[in-house]
């Protein structure tokens, strides 16, 4: 009886879905008969609401499976094939949209602009991976992210980066998320989507420059494993924070570590922490004094960040089209006569006055003034904390994955000879 209920539910769900698809095609498509080529649109076609919920269901399933493969069955094969499915479904079939990474901007805008209503799907795509990560580590990165999947498949000869370089490049995602939030909150741009290196490949209609960007990341990814995930992805900042608190994170060994060191070179992401040698730590002079000095420096870093943010807000605000247009029209009033300048002609056709445009630009610049200082302060805090972390001594006796950086790909498990 219960089974019958499920079958009936599935049947009606699909029926409902296909009805919506049919309804979307009611309007006749415009016919162009003069050899006109329609430009490529920036975003995929709208999707029926039922199918959007279906995507959420697929995401939950993929997250659950990725978690199950990483934590329960400890199967690298399972994670690998799941990421292939993710690449096909969320990447090539769903054209990389909607994605959890870009959803950061939707969430930000929904807070900053009361007239913007975030869709439930976007909200769930943002929250669900974070919720899973909070409990199970970054299994989203392992098997549910199409951007991660496409990079994972091209890892050929991963090289280990020096620790200082890893730390330095690791600051880029913090900068990226700061700018992405600032630009989204001021209604300027969704830069995460704009500079998504793989979405053009998924849609197979990217501009030439974006193809170059995607291919460059993939070529780089042959040697520096998953460079976008590790050194660019703004969502990784949030995932990393969540993962540090995860209770049931992946472990390299299913039982006690036998210190065989077979796993030491298994991680292409440099995310395995080695056992600490207390004697070396003492010898290196990493002591309380340095810790205190770095801790005292944190407010200074924050203040410096706020200062830099305040100084750079004028420059950053020029990314906003209204601000840029207002400045352009003030400095080059003759551009009004350029019939080919689409932005200027659109503004003139809108009937908006120059005074209104300038007032709007000033409001946006005011938002940048506050937002840039917050972003700068945040970056200062991140730099300060990163430095502080370098002198914090954490006692480790075994080889363990770094909870923040581990992508739960399960490669290391294959190297571990320990059985349950």
């Amino acid at each position: 009886m219960k089974k019958l209920k499920y079958i009936l539910f599935t049947f009606y769900f699909l029926l409902f879905t296909f009805t919506l698809i049919a309804q979307q095609q009611r309007f006749p498509k415009p016919e162009f008969e003069s050899g006109y080529e329609q430009p490529d649109t920036v975003t995929p076609e709208p999707r029926a609401l039922a199918l959007e919920y279906f995507d959420v269901l697929v995401l939950i399933l993929v997250l659950s499976l990725a978690t199950w493969f990483a934590l329960k069955t400890r199967s690298r094969q399972g994670v690998l094939w799941l990421s292939v499915f993710t690449l096909i479904y969320f990447g090539f079939y769903r054209n990389g949209c909607i994605c959890s990474i870009g959803a950061i901007q939707n969430v930000t805008l929904s807070f900053a602009d009361p007239t913007y209503a975030i869709s439930l799907t976007a909200l769930l795509f943002f929250i669900l991976p974070l919720a899973f990560t909070l409990f199970f580590g970054r299994t989203f990165c392992a098997g549910a992210c199409p951007l991660g999947a496409i990079q994972d498949l091209v890892i050929i000869k991963p090289i280990s980066l020096p620790k200082w370089l890893n730390k330095t490049l690791g600051l880029i995602p913090y900068l990226y998320i700061s700018l992405a939030v600032l630009f989204a909150a001021t209604g300027t741009d969704f830069i995460i989507c704009r500079y998504d290196p793989f979405v053009g490949i998924f849609r197979m209609d990217a501009k030439f420059l974006m193809v170059v960007l995607g291919v460059s990341f993939l070529l780089m990814g042959m040697f520096v494993a998953r460079p976008y995930c590790r050194f660019f992805c703004p969502y990784s900042v949030l995932l990393s924070w969540m993962s540090r608190f995860s209770k049931w994170h992946l472990t390299i060994t299913p039982a006690a570590c036998i210190q065989c060191k077979l796993c030491t070179n298994s991680c292409p992401f440099d995310a395995i922490d080695f056992p600490t040698n207390e004697k070396e730590v003492v010898k290196s002079g990493l002591g309380t004094k340095r810790f205190l000095a770095y801790a005292v420096l944190i407010p200074i870093w924050v203040a410096a960040g706020v200062f830099v943010g305040e100084r750079s807000h004028t420059f950053l605000s020029k990314a906003n089209p209204d601000v840029f247009l207002a400045e352009l029209l003030i400095s080059n009033p003759e551009i009004k006569n350029d019939p080919d300048n689409l932005d200027v002609q659109t503004f003139l056709a809108s009937g908006k006055t120059m005074e209104t445009l300038v007032q709007e630009a000033e409001v946006i610049r005011g938002k940048f003034y506050v937002g840039s200082m917050i972003a700068g302060g945040f970056m200062g805090l991140v730099i300060g904390m990163t430095l502080l972390n370098t002198v914090v001594f954490r006692k480790r006796q075994d080889y363990v994955p770094h909870k923040g950086n581990c992508l739960s790909c399960a490669r290391c498990m294959d190297y571990c000879p320990v059985e349950k």
Partner: protein
Amino acid sequence: MKNKGIIIFLLIMAAVIIAVIVGDYVSDRPNRSKPNPFAYDVKEFKTVDPELIHYKESKNFRIGFEKPVAIAIHDDKIYVAGDNNLKCIDLSGALLHDFTLPGKPQTVEVFNQNIYIAINNQILVYDNGGNLLNEWEPMGENSLITAIAATENDVFVADAGKRKVVRYSSDGEFLTEFDGKAEEGVLHGFIIPSPCFDLDINDVNELWVVNPGLHALENYTFDGNLRAHWKNTGMRPEGFSGCCNPSHFTFLDDGRFVTSEKGLVRIKTYKRSGEFEGVVAAPTKFTDEGRAPDVAADSQNNIYALDFDKKLIRVFEPKNNTRLQPGD
């Protein structure tokens, strides 16, 4: 440095990534804006092959309305609604009557000496002397009356707001309504993206309704069952383009269709079967991006277009006799 080659390669890739991001950002500023990639040049469709134009403009009347709204012809008298008035003029343009109305008219229909006018989504019935004969129940809050067609016993009202056709008796009693949904799934109900929703009754008492979103004309029984339809989408003279065309239509006395379109403003005729016949007025005759003229026809198959932009009634008469041939 066994990985020297790889490191050089990685540095080059990193440089490329930075260059692409900076290059894309800089190239997409308003001062470097490229011409509109979405621009669609419809100039070529504004010029129509003279062979296809079967009508010529013979005269026009200035009607003295600030906001003309609708035109109807009955017994070779022209009824024009606009501002707060209804004017009746003869075919030469001489004013016969001028009635003041209690509000702004939406559309007008004349049948058997009864003048049906929609004001505030309510139908008022007048006689030829301007006397109010009947005042029907107002339609609902979300209604928007865009057209009326009357026969001996029935009056059909196009409600663009509710996307329905409402059938009344000639006394104003509500009989039925329908939304154009056909069981066979050929059509999907009236698709009305803008308030352009016309209907009319032809010489053999057939009710025809425009389905503007589908670029279709649909024939319904008086009970609202779909009986026939034809449609034609396209920018070329034989098709209808844009979101919602034809915006207006009427019948010639032999059952041929006269259609009027917005966007690419033009008036055309179609045979009773829906086959394209010819052009009455090419887009070059009208204001660029102007409104679709309302159309009506007299007993001589002259076509009267109410040009909302020029505030004129423009008369188009056939160049030759284009009356329906047997078998058409």
